[in-house]
């Protein structure tokens, strides 16, 4: 089915090929997947930084109302004791993906009595992200997911950070920013990243970058942070711990 042909707007070569999720454009693009990736740029900023000592994830909470109960806004979640995940985009879409990641990690432990490698978890979610459309898996979405995830974890290959987007692509990064402030954040990360940074310095860097890109003033109440370390595993920072770190910025 063709959508409305709009010739007056020159935006990303928009044409009648952008409505259906199972149609390639003549240039070989699937617009709906690309538009899903655009949707993430409306989401709250999330940053992940990997160091030799561990990985840090930090997100802005973006509370739209002072009356909102912040605990309900889960933008950093635990997948297993050795893997955490930060999200940005259409948060509702992420619930299914988080659940899948958790189930995969537990199934792996049940079958092999060992922790699932971080890359394998990212791969499993990448596979899930591809299951959309009429002929997709039974019970799958009719459209691509509108959320990007940053998987941070520790396995026998050391600390790792993976980015998964709606196209199902997953890539390993040393440092990555997603969401509304991602462009500015990513260039700051590229300039400043040093693989010998300590985890504490990486945490400070993440908060400093969030401070730059957030509209509101950064406080311990409007951000979330988690770290993954070889001994300590997944640790979600409390408000007090965040306060202490913010003072050191």
């Amino acid at each position: 089915a063709f959508g409305n042909f709009d010739s007056s707007i020159m935006f990303m070569g928009r044409s009648e090929y952008d409505r259906d999720v199972n149609v390639y454009s003549p240039e070989g693009r699937i617009y709906q997947v690309e538009y899903a990736i655009e949707a993430i740029k409306l989401g709250s900023t999330a940053i992940g930084i990997q160091t030799k000592e561990g990985v840090v994830l930090a997100v802005e909470k973006r509370m739209t109302s002072l009356l909102m109960e912040s605990i309900g806004l889960e933008k950093i979640v635990e997948i297993d004791s050795h893997i955490g995940c930060a999200l940005s985009g259409l948060i509702a879409d992420s619930k299914a993906m988080i659940d899948k990641a958790r189930v995969e990690a537990q199934n792996h432990w049940f079958t092999y009595n060992e922790t699932m490698p971080v890359e394998s978890v990212a791969q499993a979610i990448g596979n899930l992200a591809m299951q959309f459309g009429e002929k997709g898996a039974k019970g799958s979405m009719s459209r691509p997911f509108g959320v990007a995830l940053l998987f941070a974890g520790i396995d026998e290959n050391g600390p790792q950070l993976f980015h998964v987007d709606p196209s199902g692509t997953f890539t390993q990064y040393s440092a990555k920013a997603i969401g509304s402030g991602s462009e500015g954040a990513q260039s700051t990360l590229e300039e400043g990243y040093d693989q010998n940074t300590s985890l504490e310095d990486a945490c400070k860097a993440a908060l400093n970058i969030l401070k730059q890109v957030m509209e509101e003033k950064l406080t311990s109440g409007n951000i979330e942070m988690a770290t993954l370390e070889p001994e300590k595993k997944y640790h979600f920072w409390s408000k007090d711990e965040l306060e202490d770190l913010i003072k050191k910025l």
């Binding site: 049940f110 079958t111 092999y112 009595n113 060992e114 490698p117 890359e119 394998s120 791969q123």
Partner: protein
């Protein structure tokens, strides 16, 4: 070992049994830096000998060997299944399965057929994450535990008490327990299988020993009584 499905029935005609006992014995022993697993090479059915040269050991990776005896049809199929799972794991996770992961996986594979089991007695020999020898022993439906030594198969009841005495130093007085070296373990295995071949009709013909160390898997063979 009693067969799980009864042979007798009302009319005197025996009901079809999906299982058959092909005999054979396996023994697994672990040490500080090695693990070995040995099996005889006789394949029988009743008073027939099908073959004198069928070992019951299957090398799964370069650090894990599985010993598998009972119903040969199930042993072979189970091993094909495991080989396939090992490959799939390698492609998915870009590494070989560790001994402990293989043990857990075997447990789930066996329990999957809880209501029509693989008639197999399994013993895995491998190295743990610290490089120490590890033996895992299983029942036909997947119950398993890690042990220092275990005998499985038709002569298991003859051999396990002997191993308890010689390796576990049980029921001995005035003897200092010593650590088991690879050489002592191999010598012990030869004696133990010779003893089993004397009294168990299903055990004999030949002995194969596979030894897992940090350098890979070594193999030794040894003849046994053929009667």
């Amino acid at each position: 070992t009693a067969l799980p499905i009864s042979l007798s029935s009302k009319r005197g005609m025996s009901r079809f049994s999906p299982y058959v006992l092909n005999g054979g014995t396996i023994v697994g022993v672990s040490g500080d830096d090695f693990a070995l697993i040995a099996s005889d090479t006789r394949l029988s059915e009743g008073f027939r000998i099908h073959s004198r040269t069928v070992p019951k050991l299957y090398t799964l990776t370069d650090s894990t060997v599985l010993g598998c005896c009972g119903f040969q049809g199930d042993c072979l199929t189970l091993n094909k299944h495991l080989a396939s799972r090992l490959q799939t794991y390698k492609y998915a996770h870009r590494k070989s399965m560790s001994s402990s992961a293989i043990a857990q996986m075997l447990s789930t594979v066996l329990y999957y057929k809880r209501f029509f089991p693989y008639y197999t007695y399994n013993v895995i020999a491998g190295l743990d994450s610290e490089g120490k020898g590890a033996i895992y022993s299983f029942d036909p439906v997947g119950s398993y535990e890690r042990e220092v030594f275990r005998a499985g198969g038709t002569a298991a009841n003859l051999l396990q008490p002997l191993l308890d005495n010689q390796i576990g130093f049980k029921n001995q007085t005035g003897v200092e327990p010593e650590a088991l070296t690879k050489e002592k373990a191999v010598a012990l295995i030869k004696d133990v299988f010779t003893a089993a071949a004397e009294r168990d009709i299903y055990t004999g013909d030949g002995l194969v020993i596979k030894i897992v160390t940090g350098n890979g898997v070594e193999e030794e063979t040894f003849p046994l009584r053929r009667d």
